[in-house]
Chain length 239, copies 2
Amino acid sequence: MSKKTLDNRSHKEEHLGSSAFITDIVIGMSDGLTVPFALAAGLSGAVQSNAVVITAGIAEIVAGSIAMGLGGYLAGKTEQEHYQSELKREYDEVEFVPDREREEVKLIFAEYGLNELSQNTIAGELSKDKDKWVDFMMKYELGLEKPDVNRARNSAATIGISYIVGGFIPLTAYFFTHTPYQGLMFSALLTIICLFLFGYFKSKVTGQPPLKGALKVTFIGVTAAAAAFLVAKLFNNLF
Amino acid sequence: MSKKTLDNRSHKEEHLGSSAFITDIVIGMSDGLTVPFALAAGLSGAVQSNAVVITAGIAEIVAGSIAMGLGGYLAGKTEQEHYQSELKREYDEVEFVPDREREEVKLIFAEYGLNELSQNTIAGELSKDKDKWVDFMMKYELGLEKPDVNRARNSAATIGISYIVGGFIPLTAYFFTHTPYQGLMFSALLTIICLFLFGYFKSKVTGQPPLKGALKVTFIGVTAAAAAFLVAKLFNNLF
């Protein structure tokens, strides 16, 4: 078991290293495959022209990729600012109220059943090096990891591009067909295959059961498309 | 400063308690206000009928709320399964390779400059109670918090409903106007006000500078809408 554990651990760390990038692709493509597909499906039941479906699809892809990409970028920057302001506060606390901070360290370990003596040892040792002490408080008291400065920008680009790539797949069918209904048939066939493959890959990468994951992702896409189709048709008949 | 720190801390904890719900509203409404607004704006430059804009908007709201809500629900369930499988693995490791696990505990504290004696004290004390030991490893080695079982369902509903509420705001303008251009004027006016107020509220709740936050959120929405408008118009002229 020791060997297996070791393998798992080193595999885990490797996985965590690349996972930010993969996670961003998964986030962008998940939504990109689903929402433009469902919007196009919804419109296919309500309008007579492929051009309208494609125009709406493109407008959605532009809107969605910017909202997700730019939104992700600004959220990342906010996270960095938050980390910096908390870091400054921890340094101030370590400087001006060290006794309180030592009590907080002791409290963390009291919760895990360590006795007073061990608590004092840890707090005493930690407080010898202010940088490491602050590091410890950031991670274990506040649960904050140091954000990567390039992460926000790269993440935004990856999510946005993945959304665009995912979103164009369901739309392509409307370019090569004559009516929205024909477009919907080919779009649904193509997108369901892609959702399944994407769900399978996503689950493999994140260590989930791949078949179950593939079915989940496909289910979300098909449900969203069916609901959009029905609601748009209903609304169109009433209007 | 001690008093201020105490206030901040208790305020912080209170904030963390309600923040899951608020975060879900923020996630849903952010995208709900932005994407349907931008889609409607995009179509306003390309089609002649408010009915088409509204139909597309409704289809988008249905698709987006299901993709986000159902997607969020299934992601929450996956997170729970992941936690359970890691929990089982940690219990196995504590049971079958306790020496390795003690070494891992020591390694965590070695990084913070604690001496060998303190490391041994902590590892020895922690390993007296298996439940607390596993708790410790889950949180401090793997960085995993125990997920709330009701959280996935509640989160899905909150995100989905917030998306629907946010999404209907920009659409209302197209019900009461005669042409897409008129609709766009009122929609933009109404949505920009709502984006600004929402951004202000969101920043207040998350402890960010509110004016800066309000401008950020408004900027994302306006950029997405302007880009969707331009691309849809360009595509429509070429087609």
